[in-house]
Amino acid sequence: MKVNLCGLELDNPVIPASGTFGFGVEHSQFYDINCLGSLSFKGTTREARYGNPTPRIAECGGYGMINAVGLQNPGIDAVCEKQMKVLSHFYKKPVIANISGFSIDEYRECCAKIDRQEQVGIIEVNISCPNVHNGGMAFGTDPKAAAEVTKAVKEVTTKPVVMKLSPNVTDIVSIAKACEEAGADGLCLINTVLGMRIDIRRRKPVIANRYGGYSGAGIFPLALRMVNQVANACHVPVIGCGGVSRAEDVIEMMMAGATAVEIGAANLVNPMVCKEIIDRLPSLMKELGIEHLKDIIGIVNK
């Protein structure tokens, strides 16, 4: 099940996605999280943030949910001093540090700080959060801005940099290519899809912030298509993310071109899902005649 992601050897391709796994503490109540390929921790900014007003969660039928949390986090210094120490107690392998910001300087400063953390194997730069204004997604919807962030963070770290991309764009390939040309070592896609729900009895949006990021099984086909497009157009490894909730989805993502796979919303409804997928993968590989997972990466493109 081993895969090589940006020079990092992972035991398996299964990675909980940022924002659905905190810093690993909560899910450790349910299973030993050391079975994970890696984990991407909660999106971290320079300052501590509360995020958006509540309600910031909405049900979307059987297929997904909307969140408008808006990057609640304790801030980069607290993460380096406290959360990383707690995390290292529960998880012994290299982690993916998810970094967000509201300016190029903020991205640079946060990445420089997280670069000094030994347990960080990859820095995942979030330029795709749909729930904050003048930051996050603003950098991920314009190829030039995306390239600028990439360049800025590459200057301050020797660790591999993965840019996390937004699906809320006309042409994700142009953004992906801009990041790659600016030096990104990998790409992660997709973040949540901007969505909305209305409470028809109250005649008001369910989410206090009106819109939020839609995620869950419902976005899987969209994510798969985008992963396939980007993997076809770029040479750097792609982490497939969006609606993955079963071992079958992991295989599908990898066949579309993903080197590793992030699992997001599914972690929130079934806390055991990542472990269940990892446990299921060997027998599923056998059924499908797959000897090594790395052999199927982008197989539909060949």
Partner: protein, 239 residues
Amino acid sequence: MTILENTKLVDNVYRMKLGGGHKPVTAPGQFVNIALPDKFLRRPISICDWDDETFTIVYKVVGEGTEMMSRMSVGTELDVLGPLGNGFDIEVQKMRHPLVVGGGVGVPPLYGLTKELLKKGCHPTVVIGFNTASEVILFDELQALGVDVFVSTMDGTGGVKGVVTDAMAKACVLYDYFYCCGPRPMIEALKQETMTEGQISMEERMGCGFGACVGCTIETKNGFRRVCADGPVFLKSEL
């Protein structure tokens, strides 16, 4: 877990008893998070009463999920996560006469709380408020525990006309600590009108229910706190 009972108490409010294979309840005021067919998010509902093999929840039909639950028959299997959350702390120094205040579907967790307070040798007084007499739940059950129960209704059709604080004033309840679960305006009124420290169960729209998504965070004097994992019960002094 298996549904052992699912009966209507009053219009739109049901009592469900679940049995089989749950982790022990460690405090009154904890909740369970229930997965439903064709719904993505689980539904968090507080635990009303429990024993070693079963627990009981009392829930109100407020949307499609709870409406679906109300139609479920005995014998149906449910995927239940929990008990979750910290619940009420009953190990309070020098507490002898706690006041237990609930409103609407905030009343159910207070039944289990009152039971535990009695076991500890305290002498609780219960005050519960509703919109109208036909919505009153758990009055007989609470009284059967042997405690004084005062009721208020907004329209005066039952008990004292007005809100719970009106019933408290009318009954001249003396207390040295309080516990509360109910709607926001009730919580605000109690925070203002109580002279003692107390514990308040908060409600927010939740994602996961176990602290991972931080969807239900509130700002407190002790910083950002997740209602699901750091709560749902908080001290009055930290809110």
